[in-house]
Symmetry: C2
Subunit: 225 residues, 2 copies
Amino acid sequence: MSKERVPVVEQIFSANDQIAMLNRQRLNAAGVFSINLMASPGAGKTSFILRTIEGLKNILRLGVVEGDTAPVTIDSDLILAAGMPAVQINTGGDCHLDAVMLKEGLNQLPLNDLDLVIVENVGNLVCPASFKLGTHLNVLVASIPEGDDKPYKYPAMYRGVDVLVINKMDLLPYIPFKMDYFLQGVQILNPGVISFPVSCATGDGISKWCHWLIAQRNHFIGHGD
Amino acid sequence: MSKERVPVVEQIFSANDQIAMLNRQRLNAAGVFSINLMASPGAGKTSFILRTIEGLKNILRLGVVEGDTAPVTIDSDLILAAGMPAVQINTGGDCHLDAVMLKEGLNQLPLNDLDLVIVENVGNLVCPASFKLGTHLNVLVASIPEGDDKPYKYPAMYRGVDVLVINKMDLLPYIPFKMDYFLQGVQILNPGVISFPVSCATGDGISKWCHWLIAQRNHFIGHGD
């Protein structure tokens, strides 16, 4: 019996996770903070990005990576119209972004001139939860009209996110949404997760979110420059 | 050179499609009409099923197959409470139902005592479009709060369905939803597809849908009995 020690590999990274790690290193090296925005179709990801652009203009330089299952540029056109660099990734029917797609997206952005990159994932409450991109934070945009049972039905997504945005708060009077029941489900799956109730229709709650985002950037990246 | 004819296989069915075909044969043999309900999370599939049960009670004998990504029985409990046989399929995190899962679900239903089986797919506007189940019709439940751009962003789903339900019509006054723009996208992808505007909150439009569904059953299955 040999007395040589058997090499033990502590952690196996998937190919996707390895690329995600490289994406993170690249973002860190450029001093760019980044978030991965996930949600159901129609929860208001693009409107939320537009409100965030508005709230952070003159403070942070933003870029946006738009994931779409089809070659439509509806969302990226809106971002460009807001004066921000945007890249559209057509997944070719795939139901999520992965780290390789983000790598390609980052290639198209002027990273050295940016402070924050917002990645808008494909609208889907299941698949994107399984694919790390290398962004600093995973953000879930829930919305009131989706109903208060979504944490219970899509636990993998709610369990895996760092921050929860609750959008379309302006519709609360018209919909039987029990906030206590919703938040109870969230806390069971993701204890202590911070949440931001907002309305992208009225702008309510966006300022608080933007201040928090700036603080997160300082935490992860430093004041830099 | 041999003069023997080369055998040509006209159509290759995937393993999933083969099982889907068997599901259809089994449903036909039992005289059961079936629909596959697809939608975003929170578009109101379960509320729509409950309204359909209400509209068809004393006319058709219904059973429901509920697809969920997690072992929660919120939806199937509601169906059972409405007095209908329901089976829950936990996909174990998978983002869609497939034909094998439906086969297992059908095993748990008293098919010979039913006229209609409604399959509630996983809430997802991307993946379920790629998996035939063997049901007679694919039904998409869109909803007003999702926004009027969904056909343009999720074309594979809109292209592949036989009928479109537009739910949450009661929220139209509170949301900037351009119906013309929405329907234009639908017609480009799926010319002539029939659509039913409904509100599961108020019950509006459900009666028309139920009458159409009965006619479809007669068309596919015959008056039977």
